[in-house]
Symmetry: C2
Subunit: 300 residues, 2 copies
């Protein structure tokens, strides 16, 4: 590929027994992901249960990552909340820390809002942060947010805030959306939410992936990225897709945390905040299989 | 009616020109609503754009109402956020102030969560607040929250927290849901979100309504409640339903704020936080008609 394809991991957020944020385990997991080949992290997004955390918890956790020596330039933390003052505070904080950018959900409580309103929300946040080094990655996940990121919105934001609108994450699940965004807006970095789409994403001119299951299979996904266009590409894609497919049949975020816990040999990584509940015995075999597949212990 | 039927108004939250919370206008509107006959207020809910406000803004606004002399015992503020620490902080704060109860959304970012998870979320908050005078009103508004309040959930919560689970607001829009909740759980106070349902709600044993349009027509709704079972009932119901029907054809929250602004003769009441946008000239005639109907200037 002539352009750079990257893996940013939406790192899970471990919780302690009292459900407070477990920054020690968070830092350990983050370092393990980078050591395994991830180009960076996109913490505090959907997989990270970020909207289950308060603003102060999110800030403290991001600081813990940076204080532990993780380069801020490799971090794209999520900052989009329902309340614009919260989004502003988190985005300004991440920018001050030197983060590469922020992954920004639109305000997501109200459904059926207009593009004019979503534009006004993003514009209000960008204006209020008022930092030329703020980099915004738009977050398209309508099945959770209820608020899609339309082409008209992207175009309007890019015109008003050139240099600030730097990318987009497509978590809607169908390749066509990312394909069309990449074609229409080749100058921004468009990430797919599934490693199964990396080959298509790269070929179309996209920027790579930010995938929940990359918490479990960062090395495999990195190998695929490094092997794009090589003879090994198809086998590497088959491996990451096989791991991915297992999680698609499970309660996603609980299963990702359970798999990470199994990899670390530490049940503490599996804890979730409500409204999530832990996976049960009926999921154990599939989670073990995903971990074994990721480790190359069984063929894809 | 042998039992008490009440109107709690989900008071709009006015914003200043810089979009900060305008507590002066909030207090003025709250007092006007009570003067017009509302039994109480359910501020900081959906109509109030509460999820567009930070936790500290919500606390300060609630304190402003109480400091202005509005009895805390007539307030059921909304406190449900995506992050349980925020829900806990707001619920504890409202309870400390002596509020009658809190209207608690389930955590609403994640969709398709299990009843077990929603139960765990409510239980976690109630345990963490740890106050015997905490009164929880469950908030069923699946079209926004994506998380319905099921009968199984209500039953389980009532068994675990008798005395704490005091009521429910049904904002889903169909009478059948409230009817079935009232029949199954007559010991809690079930409010409908539309004044058009008050007659049915009262006859079934419900507690009344918490309706967006009661911001505009509190006196008419109070007259209906006072006239339940009288010869005037049908005409009173026709009046409140006529006002209600106009708003159902408009962008609801912007139109409610525009109507309140018209009633106060003060455009400052109409400002909204993004993602909402103000109503346009095409809505003006309908909004004026709703205000005139509410004032009895034109027949229903």
């Amino acid at each position: 590929m002539s352009h750079k394809i990257e893996l940013f991991v939406p790192a899970i957020t471990p919780f302690a027994e009292d459900l407070s944020v477990d920054t020690d385990r968070l830092v350990a997991h983050a370092k393990a992901l980078l050591d395994a080949g991830a180009h960076g992290l996109a913490p505090f997004g959907t997989t990270s249960e970020a909207n289950s955390m308060s603003v102060s918890e999110r800030m403290a956790a991001l600081e813990a990552l940076v204080d532990a020596g993780i380069p801020a330039s490799s971090l794209i933390p999520g900052t989009g909340c329902t309340a614009l003052p919260d989004t502003i505070a988190l985005s300004a904080h991440a920018t001050r820390l030197g983060c590469r950018g922020v992954l920004m959900l639109p305000p997501f409580y109200y459904k059926g809002v207009s593009d004019d309103g979503v534009y006004a929300a993003y514009a209000h946040v960008i204006d209020a942060v008022g930092a030329s080094d703020l980099g915004v990655y738009l977050y398209h996940i309508p099945q959770m947010s209820g608020v899609p990121i339309t082409h008209a919105l992207i175009e309007r934001l890019m015109k008003a805030y050139p240099g600030t609108i730097r990318g987009l994450k497509d978590s809607a699940g169908k390749w066509e959306y990312a394909r069309d965004v990449i074609a229409a807006f080749p100058e921004i970095a468009t990430y797919s939410a599934s490693e199964s789409m990396i080959v298509d994403n790269a070929a179309a001119g996209g920027a790579g992936c930010i995938s929940a299951s990359s918490n479990v299979n960062p090395a495999g996904i990195r190998r695929l990225i490094d092997g794009l266009g090589s003879d090994a590409q198809d086998a590497l894609l088959a491996q990451v897709s096989a791991v991915r497919k297992i999680f698609e049949g499970l309660p996603l975020i609980p299963a990702i945390k359970a798999a990470v816990a199994r990899q670390h040999g530490d049940d503490g990584f599996a804890r979730l905040r409500p409204p999530f509940v832990a996976t049960g015995p009926e999921h154990e075999a599939a989670i073990a299989q995903a971990v074994d597949l990721a480790a190359g212990k069984v063929p894809a």
